[in-house]
């Protein structure tokens, strides 16, 4: 379980010595095997929040604890999927997938076996020896997802993972992620700026407000699992999406 209590984060601004409050008094929990999506207008600090949970940047006040232990940095129970894929251009698909395993000292043949299994899972058979530049964006992010899954994390932190993809690819990957997750449930925190994506994937949607970033509301998504693409036509889906839009719209009116 991820527990975030009274979390604040300030970024210092060089010129005047002052700071910008990126996150203020954030409080929420993510239960084991739960899929929580985070949505909010740009500047609400959702990516900052995810990076703090990942242990990549420090925070100022409050605490972030996983299974009761306050985090001090990255840990083996977490893995991150990045928006820009963050693949090593000098390594082929297999080597990219095994990166996390190798860093953690897994024996090489074990890495290979695990990577082959994941190549199959994300549907990249036949591309094992390709380099990232030879792959489409969607395939690159499937490598990013496979790399994160390879270390078998309890918690998957996803930072707008499909944000850089075109809509068709994005929808295919959403469906693939849904199937994967419904087959093997992990705790997932998924940052997005797409309302469809937030409702489609999440058990709960966390709505954030900007400047400073705060949690506005936690919204339950009472849609059945496993979810099919048809779920988008259901009343509940449309209702939550409209509710999100009303709120997001109100936040941005007067700003743009």
């Amino acid at each position: 379980m991820i527990r975030v209590r009274a979390l604040s984060k300030e970024f210092s601004v060089r010129d005047n010595g002052g700071g910008v409050l990126a996150l203020s008094d954030i409080d929420f929990e993510v239960h084991d095997n739960e899929f929580v999506t985070i949505i909010g207008p740009s500047g609400c600090g959702k990516t900052t929040l995810l990076r703090i949970i990942a242990g990549l940047i420090p925070y100022d006040q409050g605490e972030v604890a996983i299974d009761g232990r306050v985090i001090t940095g990255p840990g083996p129970e977490r893995a991150v999927v990045f928006q820009n894929f963050a693949l090593m251009p000098w390594a082929d698909v297999l080597a990219n997938i095994t990166f996390g395993l190798e860093v953690r000292g897994t024996p090489l043949d074990e890495c290979r076996d695990k990577a082959k299994e994941l190549v199959k899972l994300v549907g990249l058979e036949g591309f094992e020896k390709r380099f990232p530049k030879e792959l489409s964006g969607g395939m690159q992010q499937r490598v990013g997802l496979a790399r994160a899954l390879a270390v078998n994390p309890e918690i998957l932190l996803m930072d707008e993972p499909f944000g850089a993809l075109d809509e068709q690819t994005r929808r295919l990957l959403q469906e693939q992620l849904l199937r994967l997750w419904e087959g093997q449930r992990k705790t997932v925190v998924f940052v997005t700026h797409s309302m469809d994506e937030a409702v489609m994937l999440g058990d709960r949607v966390m709505l954030m407000t900007p400047r400073p970033g705060r949690v506005k509301e936690m919204i339950d998504v009472p849609l059945q699992r496993p979810r099919s693409p048809q779920v988008e036509k259901s009343g509940a889906f449309v209702e939550i999406k409209e509710y999100l839009w009303e709120n997001l719209r109100a936040m941005q009116v007067g700003e743009s």
Binding site: G55, F82, A86, F99, V103
Partner: protein
């Protein structure tokens, strides 16, 4: 993968050579210049050097001692300095002014001073070669490290990579194309340094041979010696490029050599 048409490439290269040699001969015919050798003279001079002049090989050996030692030291000093300056801001701040000085400083006027300080032996020649070459390797290596995407380093950290693993797995592979570019430029500079120090004061190696030939007005042999140096340089660059291709197959083609 882009296709390369080798026969066409080499045909065009040959055409450039033929045009250049033609212009050369034309210029000599019209200018009545007795000192400049014809291309054919130079070619036969080269033949003479390679097969009839024992001192050429000896001179080449002596010069290459300074070149190889100096270039090896340049790589051994230049790459680590560049890596540190690229990865650590504080190191960069300390080194920056000195790198600027070394980049812009004309090295040739320093040669007499170096020779006074280090004597006429190989040490002075090696030192000059290093002065010519290493800072270019440092600058390129630093730029290469800087070009490594911050998101890759963050990715490595997110999997719990140690600083050492980040260096080995991310920073050095990412900087490799730029390091090779720096070594190519450095090699060119090292060869310049090698010949210059021998020409200016230390009469040894190829420089001594060049001075002798020009003293005797044997301009065909002067040209032939220069040509030999160029051929060696091209061979070394080609070897380095082959190594680079093997190591950095992933990178876009950035060769300048």
């Amino acid at each position: 993968m882009k296709k390369k048409n080798l026969p066409v490439d080499w045909g065009l290269r040959l055409a450039v050579l033929i045009v250049a040699v033609g212009l050369w001969e034309l210029f000599l015919r019209s200018s009545q210049n007795f000192l400049l050798p014809r291309f054919s003279d130079m070619a036969s001079g080269l033949f003479h050097l390679l097969f009839a002049e024992a001192r050429f090989w000896q001179a080449l050996y002596i010069s290459n001692q300074a070149l190889i030692l100096g270039f090896a030291i340049s790589v051994a000093v230049g790459i680590p300095l560049g890596l540190l300056a690229g990865r650590f801001r504080w190191m960069d701040r300390i080194l920056n002014p000195y790198v600027g000085v070394l980049l812009t400083m004309p090295v040739a006027p320093l040669i007499p001073i170096v020779i006074i300080a280090l004597g006429l032996g190989i040490a002075a020649r090696v030192f000059i070669v290093v002065l010519f070459a290493f800072v270019f390797i440092t600058v390129n290596t630093r730029a290469g490290v800087r070009s490594v995407e911050a998101s890759l380093i963050e990715m490595a950290k997110s999997f719990g990579a140690s600083e050492g693993q980040i260096w080995r797995r991310i920073v050095i592979p990412g900087a490799m194309p730029a390091i090779f570019a720096g070594m190519r430029i450095g090699l060119g500079r090292a060869i310049t340094g090698m010949v210059m120090v021998e020409l200016l004061l230390v009469a040894s190696g190829l420089g001594r041979l060049l001075l002798e030939f020009s003293g005797r007005m044997q301009s065909d042999l002067v040209f032939a010696t220069v040509l030999a140096v160029i051929i060696e340089a091209l061979a070394l660059l080609a070897a380095m490029q082959a190594l680079e291709k093997r190591i950095t197959r992933w990178a876009p083609d950035a060769s300048i050599g």
